[in-house]
């Protein structure tokens, strides 16, 4: 070991720890593959996910060589719909998590740094929002506001920031009293400067881990919404909606519900593996 080399920074330490986790790397691979598949969808399948095929001939075809995952009641190829559907699920999940994390970080940092009345009020609101089950809150909003894909994204983000806010607040509270923050304040740095230049960068690891772990949950929530018919409107393929459509033909055409569900599961597993490994890499606990 080269004793003269400067100590590894936070990021490279975390990265080398991450690399040792086989599950974490597997998760990362899964996600990369999924995103590539979503981007290169037209290259992967010759079928159109939306256009209806020759319905009487092509409907409810069981998995075979031409259609590895079968066809649905409109004669559309299931595999094609799953691949194109990944675009919707991945985009929505990514954007929603981004919104949730940004909101949560701002609120949490403000609460943690300002303390006092501001903290108390913000945290009471967080508690109140957490008390309403997320799906109920989402359902209520969907009922009140007209539906569209962007609405789903915004609502998912707007209902998911609370946990991040709590995490960020806890982190900020523990960092606040460190010497370098006090030094910055002593030198005259104002409140927002301290938040932006010192506190937030150092809570970034916590935020990233939390965000990755949340994407899985958001994908599931979005799937549930689509399943209930309240998500992205058809005919855009969405995995949750495909499972719903398959429900009526469950006895005869089991493949319609099974494969989209597997797609959802694999995606969420990938994000959870990645998130867990990131968590272990960047926040090593003393005991396993």
């Amino acid at each position: 070991m080269n004793l003269k080399a400067p100590p590894q920074g936070l990021w490279s330490q975390g990265w080398s720890r991450f690399r040792t986790s086989r599950f974490g790397v597997a998760g990362a691979v899964i996600i990369v593959v999924l995103y590539l598949a979503a981007v290169f969808a037209p290259l992967l399948t010759p079928y159109d996910p939306i256009a209806q095929g020759d319905v009487p001939k092509m409907r409810f075809v069981a998995p075979c060589r031409d259609h590895p995952l079968g066809t649905d009641k409109f004669g559309r190829d299931v595999l094609a719909r799953i691949i194109y559907g990944s675009r919707i699920s991945l985009t929505i999940a990514f954007l929603a998590v981004a919104i949730a994390v940004v909101l949560g970080t701002l609120v949490g940092a403000a609460a943690g740094y300002c303390g006092g009345v501001v903290d108390a009020i913000l945290m009471r609101i967080v508690d109140a929002l957490l008390a309403i089950p997320r799906l109920f809150l989402l359902l209520t909003c969907v009922a009140l506001f007209p539906g569209s894909m962007w609405l789903v994204v915004v609502l998912l983000g707007a209902t998911g920031w609370m946990a991040t806010a709590r995490l960020v607040r806890a982190q900020v509270l523990s960092l606040r009293n460190l010497d370098y923050v006090k030094a910055a304040e002593a030198l005259g740095a104002g409140g927002s400067a301290v938040i932006w230049r010192h506190l937030i960068p150092n809570t970034l690891t916590v935020i990233i881990v939390a965000a990755t772990l949340r994407i899985g949950g958001i994908i599931l929530t979005e799937a549930s919404l689509s399943f209930l018919g309240l998500g992205v409107p058809p005919p855009t393929p969405s995995w949750g909606q495909m499972v719903f459509e398959g429900r009526e033909a469950l006895m005869g055409a089991w493949w319609l519900s099974t494969f989209p569900g597997i797609a959802i599961a694999v995606t969420v597993i990938g994000f959870n593996l990645l998130g867990d490994a990131l968590k272990d890499a960047f926040e090593p606990r003393r005991f396993v």
Partner: protein, 326 residues
């Protein structure tokens, strides 16, 4: 203890107040005139007028707010647009059914979660432990509606051993009490399993972690040195201390339980609040939707209050010190 209780109770009331306020503003922030929502051609003009009057929709916003809060606090939730009945009546029918489901799921969650967690900690890194870790990851990641459908496919459609919907069979005339109970229990199995298994998986993980932390403590070492059997050490000493943080986790899982009930009830045609909510959404039945939101929030807040009280009873340290230790 009573001071602690009083404080938590006051906090809960404040929370409820905030929830009500948020719900009120959601309704009025929505685009469109709230009054026009009740101009649905399907409602008779009588009912529409009655609703508008009782809701005071023609009054200024502040006055509406207080009247609305007052009526909700009294338990008057208005009239359902779809069923033309009092919302309260609808809820009174649906809530017990949902409670049956959630209590069963909660029981499964606690029993399975705690026992697997304890065993995993006791046999750390064994095959049992590893298998459970992987199984937990899977359970955590699959959508509950999909799990429900797959189980229905296997157990109801292909194997025919468990019923796929509703709380009891249609032809239960003349069933003895025992047979009725059994029939209902059979109908409860799949929904409760689907609802509770994900929480059970996450609780098992937490329990395992908590047990491992506790097993390192000195008093465990002392107990072992005294010659107590490992089982006794685990169950009598470690478990009690490890269970404490898990109690809070269980309290925190209540929102997820009710949220999950929405999907599970829809799949299994279970006549509870979740399905009522979804139907109300489809029918744009706002009074029902808002009332359900409120009731669920109340139940959840009450539940976490109970969890905190239980925690306080189990661990006197936090009540005496007058605050949560962390």
């Amino acid at each position: 203890m009573s001071r602690f209780l009083a404080r938590r109770l006051a906090q809960s009331l404040v929370l409820l107040f905030i929830v009500l306020t948020i719900t009120f503003f959601l309704l009025h922030l929505a685009p469109g005139d709230p009054m026009s929502r009740y101009d649905d051609p399907d409602i008779s003009p009588e009912t529409a007028r009655h609703i508008k009057e009782s809701l005071g929709l023609d009054r200024p916003l502040a006055e509406q707010y207080f009247r609305w809060m007052g009526s909700f606090a009294r338990g008057d939730f208005g009239t359902s647009l779809r069923y033309q009945r009092s919302v309260r009546g609808l809820l009174a029918e649906a809530i017990p059914n949902t409670l049956r489901l959630t209590v069963a799921a909660l029981a499964l969650h606690i029993l399975l979660g705690l026992s697997i967690g304890v065993l995993s900690a006791a046999k750390k890194y064994s095959l049992f432990d590893r298998v459970n870790t992987i199984a937990a990851l899977f359970v955590y990641s699959i959508p509950s509606f999909w799990l429900g459908l797959m189980l229905i496919l296997v157990f109801s459609l292909k194997l025919g051993v468990l019923p796929s919907s509703h709380m009891q069979s249609i032809d239960t005339e003349g069933f003895s009490a025992a047979a009725l109970f059994l029939d209902r229990a059979r109908h409860l199995v799949l929904p409760a399993f689907v609802l509770g298994i994900a929480s059970a998986a996450s609780t098992a993980r937490y329990m395992r972690g908590s047990m491992l932390d506790v097993l390192r403590e000195d008093y465990i070492r002392t107990a072992r040195a005294k010659g107590l059997t490992e089982t006794r050490v685990l169950l009598k000493h470690a478990l009690r201390n490890a269970a404490l943080p898990v109690v809070t986790i269980i309290g925190l899982s209540l929102p997820f339980l009710f949220g999950g009930a929405v999907v599970v009830e829809t799949i299994f045609s279970w006549p509870g609040m979740g399905r009522l909510a979804v139907d109300a959404i489809y029918a744009r039945d706002y009074p029902v939707v808002l009332a359900i939101n409120f009731v669920v929030a109340v139940i959840v807040i009450l539940g976490s209050l109970l969890a905190d009280v239980a925690y306080g009873l189990l661990d006197p340290r936090i009540t005496v010190a007058g605050g949560k230790r962390n």
